[in-house]
Symmetry: C2
Subunit: 461 residues, 2 copies
């Protein structure tokens, strides 16, 4: 039994655990990382990367159809999904090897197995005990079974199962509120599937600003996605041709025939981590931490999906948290600013929201001013037909503090960095209004939205 103590033991080798381990090692720590499945975690193996890959392919199909506006006559194209999956899987294998290499280069000891706390300063894995001074829990989230009747039927699948399949479903019902389902819906419809999206909420992205919700809703519907709101699945029956789902939507009953029902419900993996052994409460949706990402047990940190409600399951939250937890574990003083976590939806146009919505800002008691710049008034926006695109900035009236930025745009995810920097650096509307963004870009509308909030819009009618 290895009784020499590690400075830091990281439990979980995903989007959070990997940078945590590397950062702790960079700071001179003796570090072990425990992973029971694939290095890279859900993000690289089952989430951001494969679905990002599918989305990029779907965006190409979107570009094809947009090309008609420019005079391109594009005949029917044939799609080889196996070739797409092959590229995707090769890329993931390559990335996994890369992660292994990075951990090795940084002298992080990788231990394969299921880890579990066994009292303060001790982790058990595969019958062995590891001693640690600090631990970073990064065990992620796990699937929860949806609670509708028929959820256990064959053909009712989650996104992991979806990735396993060697063809795309012809007719599909996506059920849930995750923004990932919106991106998937769009990818599928571009690949020729018939797509219904059903949510229990009053609409898609229910927590975001109305501007964002209604604009994306319009785009998705125009692209042919059927969206059912206030929806409940009453049952799923196997038929000869596939599955018959009975739903209510806004009180009225509907029957739809599909090949697959895809759900996406995940919750922090609190069980089986031995949390009780160090006095951490195992109940609740996710592990609570302070802003230094430390749990109720001193020296034990938690990051990523393990310490977040499902609506905050973002890889960038995990990786930023990983670095912060590692630095704190190694004696530095860092905090996670939750405002900096962009809520991104990988549709086309994309949605990226940072900071507070208008409703949240009002609730927090701010005297508000909201500025907006529709991309239909932006030169590149016109070229790209960004009819539903917009940048909306929520700010505090007195000093012009920027409280939230909401973007619907092609590449909103790349523009969003400007919003996170603005908030990180506590930029005011005045600062943002004066920024010089290159022309012609969609980013120019960030400055214009700030000017609009100041009553100084230049290019708005």
């Amino acid at each position: 039994m290895n009784q020499e103590a590690y400075d830091v033991v990281v439990l979980g080798g995903g989007a959070g655990g990997v940078p945590a381990a590397i950062r702790a090692a960079q700071l001179g720590g003796r570090v072990a990382l425990i992973e029971c499945k694939d290095l890279g975690g859900a993000c690289m193996n089952k989430g951001c990367v494969p679905f990002g890959h599918l989305r990029v392919a779907a965006d190409i199909l979107g570009a094809l159809s947009f090309g008609k506006e420019f005079g391109f006559d594009i005949p029917e194209i044939s799609k080889n999904y196996n070739m797409l999956r092959k590229r995707q899987n090769e890329m993931i294998s390559f990335m996994r090897e890369g992660v292994k290499g990075l951990l090795g280069k940084n002298k992080v000891k990788v231990i394969r197995g299921v880890g579990k706390l066994a009292g303060q300063g001790k982790m058990e894995v595969g019958g062995e005990s590891l001693l640690f001074r600090k631990a970073i829990l990064a065990a992620g989230a796990r699937w929860t079974r949806p609670d509708f009747p028929g959820a256990d039927r064959e053909g009712v699948i989650n996104t992991d199962d979806f990735l396993e399949a060697d063809k795309l479903p012809g007719r599909v019902l996506l059920f849930g509120r995750s923004p990932w389902l919106l991106g998937l819906a769009q990818s599928l419809i571009r690949f020729g599937s018939q797509v219904t999206l059903a949510t229990r909420e009053e609409g898609i992205l229910p927590d975001e600003n109305k501007t964002v919700r209604t604009r994306l809703d319009k785009v998705l519907k125009r692209q042919g996605i059927e969206i059912l709101t206030h929806a409940e699945i009453l049952g799923v029956e196997k038929t000869r041709g596939g599955l018959q789902c009975t739903l209510t939507t806004k009180g009225s009953e509907e029957r739809i025939s599909v090949d697959r029902v895809v759900t996406l419900e995940r919750r922090a993996s609190l069980k089986d981590l031995g949390l009780g052994s160090v006095g951490i409460d195992e109940s609740g949706d996710c592990l609570r931490t302070n802003e230094k990402l430390e749990t109720a047990a001193a020296g034990i940190y938690a990051i990523g999906d393990l310490s977040a409600p499902e609506t905050s399951h973002y890889s960038h939250r995990a990786s930023t948290g990983g670095v912060i937890a590692a630095e704190n574990a190694m004696g530095l003083e860092r905090i996670l600013d939750p405002r900096s976590v962009v809520r991104v939806t990988f549709t086309q146009p994309q949605v990226a929201c940072v900071g507070m919505t208008t409703k949240e800002a009002k609730r927090a008691g701010h005297d508000l001013v909201v500025g907006a710049a529709p991309l239909s008034m932006n030169p590149l926006g016109m070229i790209l037909s960004q009819t539903e695109g917009i940048v909306e900035i929520v700010s505090e009236k007195r000093y012009g503090e920027i409280l939230g930025v909401h973007i619907v745009a092609d590449n909103a995810s790349e523009m969003a960095g400007q919003a996170t920097l603005a908030m990180q650096m506590e930029m005011t509307l005045e600062d943002l209004a004066r920024a010089t963004f290159p022309h012609p870009t969609l980013s120019e509308s960030l400055a214009e939205a700030a000017r609009d909030a100041l009553g100084q819009a230049i290019y708005l009618p």
Copy 2:
């Protein structure tokens, strides 16, 4: 004769003059704007907008060919250039009407004609005199005839002529050093032209960092563009099939047959502005101003291409300058930070450079540290096959001040806003290293490049 004085008279209704006039009017000024051609200027009518439109169409063709990697089998597509031009011209007309509307809404008096200073406080246009308290000169640049033998032959054209043509040239020689020619070269090759790019310089983008130059050079060559460096045109002869150009490149002589030679050389329009009447020197490449954008004549400002060498002819420099000059003219105190002007090249991948190159920073006496994050290590970069993509950050060693950011990436122009904000807000490497960019995005590599400069790269082997 109207002898009532305007608070501000703006000479030129392009990318600089329009926002200058609107901003001055917003601040309570009585404003006139003089334009002899189309509202919107070179940018909207002959530059950024039409070439941006062509580039977006070419990017779609690029996406098509990239689609093969994802298993799409795309047959020959037919291209209707007239339809493309129709869309482009309709868009430009619509934008022009928009500018007219904006000026009207802001109560800017638009005067059609050729304006000219007639002593301090007086502008002449179409035989009438306008009195002004302040003037903003925004007359832009004009074509200069290239100085090689045969430059006056039919078929040797500039980009204005290019836009007039109702078809694209089958074989084309692009001669010059403008970054716009690089974008045009790529657009043309994607539309099926045979493209040679020749420059007198030692390579493309000669003033930028080597990393940027060599990577873009590699991409363009791989796409089939022939690049001739240290090139001189010795003569252009008319042949039955088109034009025969004789060039030297690195000392050796070459003959190429083309349909068109396209050049792009512009210089500030200093003549015929009546500068002498207010004591401003008419010689030199462009009009000199102080950092408040005021010329040698008190109360007379100059912005945009009129006050910039050709290498700084960027619309965003003009529009930012317009707002600043207007504010100064109306009694505020603003300066133009030249570091904030992104140098952007609209190829695919795009190039965006902000602030100093490594060479400039060294010459300025800085003790440097340079960090880089190749996009081949970025998850979205891998998905998008951004093989030649990179983010490079030049910074001062002691405090980590960011001196320059250099990006080669799809959508570098949208990412560049992050670099301009970082420099505007005087962010340090440490600040940028800690920024949370959404995942998966190319922007993540900005933080990684900052970490690399600090010796804290997480994802680099």
